[in-house]
């Protein structure tokens, strides 16, 4: 099991992460509307790598000597959108676990969500905000979409800043039907173009869930007083660490963010990347499941 984030830091294979993390999690994020009414058979489709073996029609295999998968008409009307912040600040490493950073953690979390959505038969898409641009993968179903999303996630690197507000606004046309938005970020820019977009989505009656990634050192002000740091997104300029001011500013910032989210009914979960992935995922899904 990938019990500790230290082990997570050592793998880049998101499939592996998904298999381990989801082993004890079950399938559901939300109650599908068609559940219990019986899974209506719709069509056969050629087997594609990644399909579950139990969905292969063995009788048809015996007849046709080919693998076919039973596609069932059990599509939910809920599309799942995975929102990944890939700005430079997401490269913040864990100061206690070597090789682990926020982006890696966010990738693993979103890969697990995608896997769950796929098992559930939901359509899922990906939005990556980073390098001043929005990378948009349209929502779809099935194992191929899963591979596409995983490849996209693996390719993502933390760089640049968040895209400008107008770019984001232009990208929001994707969400017409009611959908579930899982947004993973560090939310250090708030208010920002990203926060604006999330609030807007919420006002469009989408269910927005925010996972705020932090590190132990950030939360506990675990840096030497007087040490010099620079902002990965702001460019030039030096900052001197003072724990008192730091803790106060940080608390004010996240208090403001929490207030905004509460006002707009966006559920947020703070997670430290040193925490076990399963714990965090379970807590986040439980929050989601209650919706």
């Amino acid at each position: 099991m990938l019990a500790t984030p230290a082990q997570l830091a050592h793998t880049t294979d998101l499939n592996l992460v998904i298999r381990y993390v989801l082993a004890g999690l079950g399938h559901g994020i939300h109650a599908g509307r068609e559940r219990g009414a019986g899974v209506e058979f719709s069509e056969y489709r050629a087997y594609a790598p990644g399909d579950e073996w139990r969905r292969v029609d063995w009788k048809l295999l015996a007849r046709a000597d080919r693998y076919f998968v039973r596609e069932a008409e059990r599509d939910s009307h809920v599309a799942v959108w995975l929102w990944l912040d890939a700005s430079a600040s997401m490269a913040e490493p864990s100061r206690s676990v070597a090789g682990l950073d926020k982006l890696q953690y966010a990738r693993a979390v979103l890969a697990c969500i995608a896997a769950i959505a796929q098992r559930q038969g939901d359509a899922f898409g990906l939005i990556v905000c980073g390098g001043g641009r929005v990378k948009f993968t349209p929502a779809a179903r099935g194992p191929r979409q899963m591979q596409r999303i995983l490849a996209q996630l693996s390719r993502t690197e933390a760089q640049g800043s968040l895209p400008p507000a107008e770019t984001l606004r232009a990208s929001l046309h994707f969400a017409r039907s009611p959908s579930l938005v899982f947004a993973v970020s560090d939310y250090l820019d708030w208010p920002s173009a990203q926060s604006e977009a999330l609030l807007r989505l919420r006002h469009m009656r989408h269910d927005v869930r925010a996972l705020c990634l932090q590190t132990d050192a950030e939360c506990d002000a675990g840096f030497a007083d007087g040490s010099a740091w620079r902002d990965p997104e702001a460019g030039k300029g030096l900052f001197r660490f003072e724990s008192q001011a730091y803790l106060k500013n940080r608390a004010d910032h996240f208090a403001g963010m929490a207030a905004d989210c509460r006002r707009s009914d966006i559920r947020t979960l703070d997670a430290r990347i040193e925490q076990s992935l399963q714990t965090v995922l379970r807590a986040w899904l439980r929050q989601a499941g209650r919706a």
């Binding site: 997401m90 902002d231 990965p232 900052f239 660490f241």
Partner: protein, 319 residues
């Protein structure tokens, strides 16, 4: 004037400035939550650091060598010295060296000690004394040096010289009489390449290619150049491809012979230099030392070597 070039050493600041780099503060690492921290002044450590130190050294040396060359660098390194003309009597020299207290001094042999000293005087240290001994000719003006110079002179015997005179004449006896009383003159009947004077007193033309510094022509039919030539005191003279031509006739009396001989000697032989009297030349400190250029060759070589090295290093550092 030359020493003003040393002010150009300020140019050395240029390569130093070019090679200097202020060290950037590099130990600031990115921190995502740095925005919650107060902004600090960008701290650059005030540490001077030089890149390409060897190249910098080469460039500084190159400039220094160039300035030293322009400033005519001379390092005074000579102490008490005795300057001797060649061929000076050794016994006389030792006596005078002992008299003047130059026993342990270095010795230099040079034909023109005062002229050589005037050029190289900057090579002597400030308190050095000099003794110039031997057959020193007297300069036109009294020489002035920054150092105290003792001058001891001794006329050396004139070297035995031989002058060849060729006489081609029917009046040979009369011409020979002119040289009979003189010492050091070899009179022959056949001119050769060494002849300094050819007396030609026959109507026939001399063989082609025969040359001499001076011809005395008794019969001008062989030398058409003399016919319309200028004359002075009844004597015609002209320049020809063979040498200078004088019209001459055997001297009638002793006075005419002497006057002819003296004219020849005055116009064709350099005067024997006059011996300078022994004396003490006091130091005249205000005397500006002349351009020496003693280290010029060495500095030029150093400059060329440094330039080559500098180019090589600059090329290598760009790679």
């Amino acid at each position: 004037m030359n020493s003003l070039w040393w002010l150009a050493l300020a140019v050395l600041l240029l390569p130093v400035w070019w090679h200097r780099q202020k060290r950037e503060r590099t130990n600031a690492q990115p921190l995502a939550t740095a925005r919650f921290l107060p902004r600090a002044d960008p701290q650059q450590q005030r540490v001077w650091r030089w890149t390409d130190r060897v190249l910098l050294l080469m460039r500084c040396l190159l400039l220094t060598a160039l300035i030293a060359l322009l400033a005519d660098l001379t390092l005074p390194w000579r102490g008490d010295t005795v300057l001797v003309t060649p061929g000076t009597d050794a016994e006389w020299l030792e006596r005078h060296v002992a008299e003047t207290g130059f026993s342990g001094a270095a010795r230099l042999t040079t034909a023109d000690p005062l002229g050589w000293l005037a050029v190289h005087e900057r090579e002597w240290k400030a308190g050095a004394r000099l003794l110039v001994a031997g057959n020193v000719s007297m300069p036109a003006v009294r020489p002035q040096f920054c150092h105290k110079v003792e001058l001891r002179t001794l006329a050396s015997p004139l070297p035995k010289s031989e002058h060849r005179v060729a006489i081609v004449s029917k009046r040979t006896a009369q011409w020979r009489a002119l040289f009979a009383a003189l010492d050091g003159y070899v009179v022959t009947d056949t001119p050769d390449a060494k002849s300094e004077l050819i007396i030609w007193d026959v109507p026939d033309a001399p063989p082609a290619g025969m040359r001499a510094p001076l011809w005395w022509v008794g019969d001008a039919t062989a030398f058409p150049e003399l016919r319309g030539a200028a004359s002075a005191e009844g004597m015609r003279y002209a320049d020809s491809a063979r040498g200078r031509l004088w019209s001459a006739a055997p001297a009638a009396d002793a006075g005419a012979a002497r006057s002819m001989f003296e004219t020849w000697q005055r116009l064709h032989y350099a005067p024997v230099p006059y011996l300078a009297p022994s004396q003490l030349l006091a130091a005249s400190p205000g005397q500006a030392a002349p351009v020496a250029g003693a280290l010029r060759d060495i500095l030029m070589m150093v400059l060329a070597a440094l330039f080559a090295l500098e180019r090589i290093l600059a090329h290598a550092s760009r790679r």
